[in-house]
């Protein structure tokens, strides 16, 4: 069944082409059927690949599609790699992707660019499958940039809407309705910074290893062992730059909150479940190198933990329903990155999977909420920001299905026993505990503390969100008239809710299905031991967060849309700091963006144009030439030569200019006479010489 592997790409590509060529002639129904079928087909193929792996001793299988670049010793074919790690990712991408496609066919109903949306989504699935299915770093990079492109296109899908927020006003004069487009551009550019690191890492791998194939790289480093430690450190740190870009870690996380400008299914699919986890996949894929570079591992773990903590605190003070989830995603990605940094690859992958379930669920439910409020706003002609949680409230009764699945997602995210999030998050914390307490590394302790605090804030902000959105009384007309979404949208929610509940089964302590499955890709992909103490603390932390949220937000419910946040008195100026997102955007704006723009402007206009183009060219080259000409015609010509000729002219004047002028009679015969005169003179000269 491995022969079918290329089909995993063929299905979504076919979807793209069909909708691209015929989309304009089809109605929404057929467009969405094509889109969903394309992903569904790929999902089927992925399942078959998993079965094939299970049936053939879990050995990695390579499927050559075509040669791509062969230059000198550089050999980079289009080749798929089917092993447990890639198949896991494929299943996730296509499975969750399919659910989100179904949801999107309801969510995007009536949009003028319906076909284009599905083209983009299928294109994204293709790129993501290239990313996780490729057999070399170059193909991974193709997918890596490809998903970046799709992210750019989908964030800016409503490219004629969205006002740039004050802090995010980047790029010269404001342009009407280009806020979403700007967010997309920001995502692409920030990701490119990450790609820069990945690119350099690839170059280094190639020139040391001589190949970009995963197998060859793994072989090289296992053979070299500790001798290649320095090299591995440099490469892995460069890879980390890429991870920070794609998985939205400090310092490159700033694009992800803005990316919420895209339609909600996009946020769920790309900016929660799949694309942003590519960084974790990359680290897991390059695990051999990370294992040789303890310094890099430590940096990775600390970056992840810090991000988890920082984003968790920011999420506490946001009012935009999707923005809270965005920061939550960054925070959870921090968990995963910390996990793989600590060597807990299975834990990282485990959390990646469960997070995909419940975060996709949360985003889609948030979309459902937005959809509902939007309908309410339409019905009442109210002008409200439909994503602002302050105008919501009391939606529990209006949207029951959405409420329940949202609650499940939130509890899973908060890590409440026995939902999926509990098991995966606990595994990460246990790994951190192990590294810190058992192995005695200081950074393990630090990571554990940061992650625990992040877990606390996770429980707190999710409680806050649930209460603000669903409990209390509606705080606007729009919220009062909201209604439940169509079954096309709620059905995938239910499936995802189920997965969020049962996701923990994937790698339950004692069973370790995921661990044993992934073990076949790298032997050190092992599940850490279950630690009852850590599990207990985690549960306490989660409950504390929920309890705190209950006390702050439920017992003192917000009554009006513009009241101050209940947490504000407790935190004081700190709240403003969190509300301002630690002012990272402003910092980058002041330190990087504005200086760059100012610098580019002065480089372009002052240095290049005024100085070099006008100044140097016109003033030095051209004017220099003119000066030389002027010098020759001026001092030299005017004084020396002119005087000479003035004298001559004086002489001529004596002879009589009238006479000379009369030489120019205009009669041809006169001139002929002149010719003969000349001939006689020349001949006379020669004759006289011969005498």
């Amino acid at each position: 069944m491995f022969e079918l592997a290329p089909l995993v790409l063929a299905f979504p590509i076919a979807g793209v082409l069909l909708n691209l060529l015929f989309g304009r002639y089809l109605n929404e129904r057929w467009i969405s059927i094509i889109g969903v079928a394309a992903v569904g087909g790929a999902f089927g193929v992925a399942v078959l690949q998993a079965l094939a792996l299970a049936g053939s001793g879990y050995h990695a299988h390579l499927a050559l599609l075509a040669n791509w670049i062969e230059v000198g010793q550089l050999q980079a074919p289009w080749q798929l790699r089917v092993d447990t790690l890639s198949v896991t990712m494929m299943l996730l991408v296509t499975g969750v992707g399919m659910l989100i496609h179904i949801y999107a066919s309801g969510y995007m109903h009536g949009d003028a660019r319906f076909a284009r949306f599905f083209i983009y989504l299928n294109l994204f699935i293709t790129a993501m499958l290239v990313l996780v299915g490729g057999d070399n770093y170059l193909m991974l990079f193709v997918g890596w940039e490809g998903v970046g492109l799709c992210s750019f296109l989908l964030i800016g899908f409503w490219y004629d809407a969205g006002e740039p927020s004050a802090s995010a006003r980047v790029g010269g004069e404001p342009q009407a309705g280009a806020g979403n487009a700007r967010a997309g551009r920001k995502a692409f550019v920030v990701n490119r910074i990450g790609d820069f690191g990945l690119l350099l890492a690839m170059f280094m791998i190639f020139w040391r290893v001589g190949s970009l194939q995963f197998d060859a790289v793994a072989d090289y480093f296992s053979v070299q062992g500790a001798a290649a430690g320095g090299l591995a450190t440099v490469i892995t740190l460069l890879l980390l730059v890429g991870v920070c870009g794609k998985s939205a870690q400090i310092p490159l996380f700033v694009w992800l909150p803005d990316a919420m400008a895209g339609p909600t299914p996009v946020s769920a699919l790309i900016h929660a479940a799949t694309m942003v986890t590519a960084g974790i996949y990359l680290v897991a894929r390059s695990a051999v190198m990370f294992e040789l570079a303890p310094v890099s591992q430590m940096v990775v773990a600390l970056v992840g933990a810090t991000t988890a903590f920082m984003a968790g605190t920011i999420a506490l003070a946001q009012y935009d329903i999707k923005r809270v989830l965005a920061y939550s995603t960054i925070s959870q990605l921090g968990f995963m990155v910390a996990a793989v940094g600590l060597g807990g690859y299975v834990a990282g992958m485990f959390h990646l999977l469960t997070h995909a379930f419940f975060k996709a669920l949360l985003f889609l439910s948030a979309g459902s909420v937005i959809h509902g409020v939007e309908h309410g706003a339409h019905a009442t002609h109210a002008h409200v920001d439909v994503q602002d949680m302050r105008v919501m409230g009391g939606l529990r009764s209006k949207m029951p299905v959405t409420f329940w699945v949202y609650l499940i997602g939130a509890l899973a995210l908060a890590g409440v026993f026995p939902l999926a999030g509990f098991w995966s998050k606990d595994e990460i914390l246990a790994d951190a505990w192990h590294v810190g307490m058992v192995e005695g590394h200081w950074h393990g302790v630090l990571v554990y503390v940061l992650l625990a605090l992040a877990a606390l804030s996770t429980a707190l902000y999710m409680t806050r969100q649930i209460i603000l959105v669903f409990f209390g009384a509606p705080r606007s007309e729009a919220a009062a008239h909201a209604h439940e979404s169509a079954p096309l949208m709620t059905a995938p929610l239910v499936v995802l809710a189920l997965l969020s509940v049962l996701g923990g089964l994937l790698n339950l302590p004692g069973w370790h299905a995921l661990g044993t499955w992934l073990e076949h890709t790298h032997e050190f992909f092992q599940t850490g031991a279950f630690n009852a103490l850590v599990a207990g603390i985690s549960t306490l932390v989660a409950l504390a967060g929920i309890g705190l949220g209950y006390r702050v937000y439920f017992l003192a419910p917000r009554t009006t849309a513009d009241a101050a946040d209940a947490l504000q008195p407790a935190l004081g100026p700190m709240f403003g700091f969190l509300r301002g997102k630690w002012f990272v955007d402003e910092l980058y704006d002041a330190v990087i963006v504005r200086p760059f723009e100012r610098g580019a402007r002065s480089l372009a206009f002052a240095l290049d144009w005024n100085f070099w183009h006008d100044g140097f060219h016109n003033s030095v080259l051209a004017a220099g030439f003119r000066m030389l000409a002027a010098f020759l015609s001026g001092p030299v010509d005017k004084t020396v030569i002119d005087r000479l000729f003035d004298a001559l002219a004086g002489a001529v004047r004596v002879v009589g200019s009238r006479n000379l002028q009369r030489l120019q009679t205009g009669y041809v015969r006169n001139y002929a006479l002149g010719v003969v005169l000349g001939v006689v003179a020349v001949m006379g000269y020669f004759v006289s010489r011969s005498i």
Binding site: G72, G156, G177, V189, L200, M204, A604, F605
Partner: protein, 506 residues
């Protein structure tokens, strides 16, 4: 019979067929504009067909010159042996094909844009094609020089007659800059011809043995001509003028082919004839190239005139080509040759697209646009693809070239430092910044300017002009191997001579 064989040799036909077209056009009444246009397109397409015949006759496995045409031309005494010598090899074949492809496209794109003096325009264009093909195919220094200068004349008139408001200034600047550089090259050519006893490039390359000190002077003399043409930073200040003022088709050819005359010259002459000097100057040239990459990209960003933006981006892109060439290894040089083609396709297409909106709106000011995608979906989509290709998105052509170049430069023995690559890779980030900025300003956001509301989308002729370029953009991006195969053996030989073993053998 001998003369018949000579006249029917493929390369001769490829080079002079456009000129024949120009001569034929001389006899057409200037009022019959459509007939003139059709004839010009037919002649340029026939040249393209001939170049495909040439491609079929080309054997990619042979590293040296093929389909050679040699006729004694000017022989004075024993020291002057100038031959009419045309030859094809892996270094030139892609550029020849690029030229023969872009010329009909450029002519076709001027269908409606050029209404005045159509006859002269087409004649100049066909003359220009002959000149460019001659540069790529001549393997005699003297002949090369003649063709090199020959390209200047038609381009001068194309800019100076059909250009924008400041065309005379731009045309003169273009002419004088190029001319100034070529004079030094002429001196070097004469030195080579007289003191080495031959003007034949393959013979000079095979013979080698020029004193290293002298090589450096010769290298610099040739580099003066080529660096201005490329243009390398800081000699680029003629480029924005020329591009902004030139008519659309002129910009296409200028960016697509004429700039490559410079990079091709570096490859064919500087690298092949002066290997020691190339090794000596590699760090310097790579530094200039890298500065050009970053500088061009930064300066592109704040431009308001789209054409100027694209013109500066050429400085950046050709910096990549130069970096690849002076990496002096297989990956670098092959990537550079492919990137020359890529830049021709992407930037050519960009100029075509800019020309199309210019025909509709008669402005190129970024501030005048916004939200065009809504009204012109086909135009927006095609522009997006070309923009992505230009910024090196994997799967499109630009990436393959840039990646191989950067890879080559990273591990280059001649440069011996990854710093060049690290700085150059910043150019990749910057490319995303300025190109996406341009795309956003033109196509995204709301339509604020009422003049943009009812613009017609592209017509069949405009799409037809772009289709061949788009096909190649995807083809090279997804399956570049056929292209690499064409250049592999010739360039591989050259690159090997710079490897440690090659240096030892010399």
């Amino acid at each position: 019979m001998e003369i018949l064989n000579f006249l029917s040799s493929t390369l001769l036909l490829v080079v002079f067929f456009p000129l024949l077209g120009a001569v034929v056009l001389l006899f057409i009444n200037r009022e019959q504009k459509d007939l003139i246009r059709w004839l010009a397109v037919v002649f340029s397409l026939a040249t393209f067909a001939l170049s495909l015949v040439m491609l079929a006759q080309f054997d990619a496995r042979v590293p040296g010159e093929q389909l050679t045409v040699v006729v004694p031309w000017i022989q004075v005494g024993s020291s002057w042996n100038i031959n009419f010598h045309l030859g094809l090899d892996g270094m030139s074949i892609l550029l020849v094909l690029l030229t023969t492809l872009l010329t009909p496209i450029a002519i076709f794109s001027s269908w409606t844009a050029i209404q005045e003096r159509v006859k002269e325009y087409m004649i100049f264009f066909l003359m220009l094609e002959t000149g460019m093909l001659g540069v790529f195919l001549s393997l005699d220094l003297f002949l090369f020089y003649i063709f090199w200068e020959f390209t200047l004349v038609p381009m001068y008139f194309l800019i100076g007659i059909w250009g924008g408001s400041n065309r005379i200034y731009a045309a003169l600047k273009f002419f004088l800059y190029t001319m100034a550089g070529s004079i030094l090259m002429l001196v070097a050519i004469l030195w080579l011809g007289i003191y080495q006893g031959t003007f034949s490039v393959p013979e000079l390359a095979a013979r080698g043995g020029i004193d290293p000190g002298m090589q450096r002077w010769l290298f610099l003399a040739f580099a003066a001509a080529f660096a201005i043409k490329v243009p390398m930073w800081p000699l680029h200040s003629w480029l924005p003028d020329a591009h902004v003022e030139a008519p659309t088709a002129g910009s296409v050819i200028l960016a697509g082919v004429l700039l490559k005359l410079g990079t091709y010259g570096f490859l064919r002459f500087n690298l092949a004839l002066f290997p020691d000097a190339s090794l000596y100057f590699a760090p310097l040239m790579a530094t200039l190239a890298v500065i050009g990459i970053v500088y061009g990209a930064i300066v592109s960003y704040p431009q308001r005139d789209v054409k100027k933006l694209v013109a500066y981006s050429s400085v950046s892109h050709l910096g990549f080509v130069m970096l690849g060439l002076f990496a002096l290894n297989t990956q670098g040089i092959q990537g550079a040759v492919l990137q020359m083609v890529n830049h021709g396709l992407s930037t050519g297409a960009l100029f075509l697209l800019v020309g199309m909106i210019y025909e509709r709106r008669h402005t190129r000011d970024l501030g005048e646009f916004g939200g065009l995608w809504t009204g012109m979906p086909v135009y927006g989509t095609l522009m997006l693809i070309v923009v992505l290709s230009s910024m090196g998105l994997p799967g499109l052509n630009g990436f393959v070239g840039e990646f191989t170049i950067l890879l080559g430069a990273f591990g280059s023995e001649a440069l011996a430092s990854p710093v060049y690559t690290i700085v150059a890779a910043f150019g990749v980030i910057l490319a995303a910044i300025y190109l996406l900025w341009m795309f956003q300003k033109m196509f995204l956001g709301q339509i604020t300017n009422p003049k943009n509301e009812n613009l017609p989308d592209l017509n069949w002729r405009e799409v037809l002009v772009l289709v061949p370029l788009l096909v190649l953009i995807f083809w090279i991006g997804l399956y570049p191997q056929p292209f690499f195969n064409l250049i592999q053996s010739s360039v591989g030989d050259l690159a090997n001579s710079f490897s440690a073993a090659g240096i030892a053998a010399r």
